[in-house]
């Protein structure tokens, strides 16, 4: 199956978002990633697919998990991975961003992985670069590899994405994970709900193809998947909720609220979790229902698949002549 999948063209130079990907594109990534899950469980994990390739992790925003996940993915494929952390304080001048792009470009990377606190910044960078760019999260816009790893996690447990009902709960307003997941799940034929207080929902969110709930009991009724979002206090200018105590009372996930979901409903969280804020510890650590650790595992596999797809047709000439 994988050999067949490998021949399929991926008609995108960069991975900037889920919006614009077809169901075939998404399945293609997930199929490849499936193979990498098996590889990653072996003692010998190394491949030489990216030997000689340079991958730069360029993070304008602090991240340990995602950066490490990309680093592991790149190294397992035999690429040279360089980590660049640009301190949050020094990047607010955008001229620096274009200058950074030109500087990096001159080093001839093959793939640039970028996280940036401003929506649209990764796309702006990609326009100035000759290499493939993967968006590792831009502002409140998109985080495509997170949505792909969530999809892989779900597909491996449920066998499908189409027809499932997924509730995305919490801070949708600030969440790039929510936007990417809404786009992906809709593309794959799942039914998507969002559950949040009105202060944490962006205007006209229903236009993105979701059902809107403000009550966990109604929003979680008969769902297959509950995706909790991190309450992003670092993006909150001003008070969006009165207290974390009240937030947990009404919107935090515990067994009581989960009761109305399907009996085999599964729980996800993109991490890092605020225990006792958006999710209770018993639920988060429930090995039967919580997929949180699997998500991290799938993350490496999905990122390996993305790196493979975006570098596959490069040959040995200059990239994108």
């Amino acid at each position: 199956m994988q050999e067949v999948a490998r021949n399929r063209p991926f008609p995108h130079r960069h991975l900037l978002g889920i919006e614009g990907l077809s169901p075939e594109d998404i399945n293609h990534v997930l199929d490849l990633a499936d193979g990498y899950v098996e590889l990653n469980r072996q003692a010998e994990k190394k491949r030489s697919l990216l030997r000689g390739r340079t991958i730069i992790n360029c993070f304008f925003e602090n991240s340990t998990r995602t950066r490490t996940s990309f680093e592991v993915a790149g190294k397992r494929l035999g690429g040279d991975v360089i980590n660049m952390s640009v301190a949050a304080s020094s990047m607010h001048k955008g001229e620096t961003l274009i200058d950074t792009a030109m500087t990096l470009n001159a080093m001839h990377p093959d793939v640039l992985i970028v996280r940036h606190p401003e929506s649209g910044a990764v796309q702006l960078l990609s326009e100035k670069l000759d290499c493939a760019v993967i968006n590792a999260g831009d502002g409140s816009h998109e985080h495509p590899t997170q949505a792909l790893l969530d999809a892989l996690t779900i597909r491996r447990r449920k066998g499908r994405l189409g027809g499932l009902t997924v509730a995305i709960c919490g801070d949708v307003l600030h969440s790039r994970v929510a936007r990417s997941n809404i786009a992906l799940l809709n593309t794959m034929g799942a039914r998507v709900r969002v559950v949040a207080p009105l202060t944490l929902l962006p205007a006209e969110i229903e236009r993105l193809g979701v059902e809107v709930f403000h009550d966990m009991a109604a929003g979680l009724a008969d769902v297959d998947i509950v995706m909790m979002l991190r309450l992003q206090s670092e993006r909150m200018h001003g008070a969006f909720i009165p207290s974390t105590r009240e937030y947990f009372h009404f919107f935090g996930l515990d067994y009581d609220k989960l009761r109305v979901a399907k009996p085999d409903a599964l729980i996800m969280h993109p991490g890092p979790m605020n225990r006792g804020v958006e999710i209770g510890s018993e639920v988060a650590d429930d090995i039967d229902r919580s997929l949180i650790r699997q998500q991290v595992e799938m993350g490496v596999a999905v990122r390996m698949a993305c790196l493979e797809i975006l570098t596959r047709d490069l040959g040995n000439g200059p990239p994108f002549p």
Binding site: E95, G120, A121, R179, P202, A203
Partner: protein, 428 residues
């Protein structure tokens, strides 16, 4: 005295309502006569054959950011003067948000002197309503007005404190001065960058509710009721804001307003993939708001179209959307974009010219904007129909930040005249 006779132009005079083919005689710096055939009384005049062209008052652009003093690398009185000349603008009124701001008589005098030296379009200025544009202490409004300031505004930001605004209006009323407000309730707009709604949500950009406009307008209208001051709302862009002004006018309050071309020529979908050239304050709105702006212009609720000229260098716009500056250049595209309202059948040519000339002149108390004997010979000769494409590379403005590059438009300036002097001329 030097005589010039414009022969057989379509004369459009919004003051008198004249829209007929005829002659116009300029004597020195002033209009000497307007009539059907003036050849017999002006045989010795230099003849300008204007057959097939329209002759109107020069445009009065009541909202221009000069950038001089303080940011001459983005624009100067010289470059904006050339841009204005090419755009048919013969009078510009500057916002006080320069460095230093126009909150002192010396800056008003500096601008007047620079305009005399440059000698292109006429330059007037507003002065700050509050010292340093900080929204707290009143400027010397009486002295500033006596030295030429045409109105009082904190420029690209609102006077947000209600008590301060009340005092600005009351003090302005004392001297019968005009107060101009940027209509946005800042405490509600917060860190918003684009209009709230589907576009903002998809792009993950913080939204500003359109209600932030009408809330500020409604508040100010109550203060106008108390004080009786002349109040002008700058760049209205929402249906609710326009409706509030429509009601206030019906009620007889001394209220006027303007809008700018992006608010009737574009809607929020122009933001596309984070095009920073579409980042404006107020932000581009929904299609229904855009249509309300057109309707407001049509029924006269919106008195004026101003360019809202805001020059920015590449360093301020080639940035992630959130970091980019607000605003676009506009004096060179004010006329061709406004012509769309005529070509699309929303306004007659005379109505359109009125909103670009006589209405702003009347609000500002300037003697221009009309084709009347004795008035300054500030004139515009244009071809209303010729098709061309806007090219930002051709802008005379030092900054090229505009979202209209490549846009096909109809109608073009042939000649701009200030006090009888031709400051711009083009044959084709």
């Amino acid at each position: 005295m030097n005589l010039v006779l414009f022969r057989q132009a379509r004369l459009l005079d919004p003051q008198s309502g004249r829209d007929a083919v005829g002659d116009l005689l300029v004597e020195g710096e002033r209009i000497a006569a307007v009539g059907g055939d003036l050849f017999t009384i002006a045989r010795e005049a230099e003849i300008v054959s204007a057959e097939g062209l329209c002759l109107t008052p020069g445009l009065v652009d009541m909202r221009v950011q000069l950038r001089e003093p303080g940011a001459e690398h983005m624009e100067s009185i010289e470059t904006v003067g050339q841009a204005a000349a090419a755009g048919g603008v013969t009078t510009m009124v500057a916002l006080p948000n320069t460095d230093p701001p126009v909150d002192d008589v010396s800056v008003v005098e500096f601008l007047a002197r620079r305009a005399r030296e440059v000698k292109l379009a006429k330059v007037h200025t507003y002065a700050a309503a509050t010292k340093g544009l900080l929204g707290r202490d009143l400027t010397e409004m009486g002295l500033l007005a006596a030295n030429g300031a045409l109105g009082f505004t904190d420029g690209v930001q609102a006077v947000s404190d209600a008590l301060v605004m009340r005092r600005v209006l009351a003090y302005a009323r004392t001297f019968d001065l005009l107060v101009i407000q940027h209509p946005e309730e800042q405490s509600l707009a917060g860190a918003g960058e684009v209009s709230e709604g589907e576009t903002a949500t998809r792009l993950g950009l913080p939204g500003i509710t359109p209600a932030a406009e009408v809330i500020m307008i409604e508040r100010d209208l109550r203060l106008v009721e108390i004080t009786g001051a002349r109040y002008h709302v700058a760049h209205v862009s929402t249906a609710a804001g326009i409706e509030a002004i429509r009601r206030a006018k019906a009620q007889g309050l001394p209220v006027t307003c303007d809008t700018a071309p992006p608010y009737f020529a574009l809607n929020e979908t122009a933001i596309g993939d984070y095009r920073t050239f579409t980042k404006l304050s107020p932000p581009l709105r929904s299609e229904s708001d855009r249509r309300a702006v057109v309707e407001g212009l049509r029924d006269g609720t919106i008195d004026v179209i101003a360019s809202d000229h805001a020059p920015w260098g590449q360093d301020s716009k080639r940035l992630p959307f959130s970091s980019a500056a607000y605003g676009i250049v506009g004096v060179e595209t004010l006329l061709p974009l406004s012509f769309e309202l005529y070509h699309n059948g929303h306004l007659s040519l005379l109505e359109l010219i009125q909103r670009l000339t006589w209405n702003p002149a009347r609000i500002l108390g300037l003697p221009v904007g009309r084709l009347a004997p004795g008035a300054p010979a500030d004139l515009l000769l244009f071809d209303p129909d010729v098709s061309w494409r806007i090219s930002t590379d051709d802008f005379r403005s030092k900054s090229k930040n505009a979202p209209f590059d490549g846009r096909p438009v109809q109608g073009r300036v042939r000649r701009s005249i200030v006090d009888g002097r031709t400051i711009f001329q083009s044959e084709g």
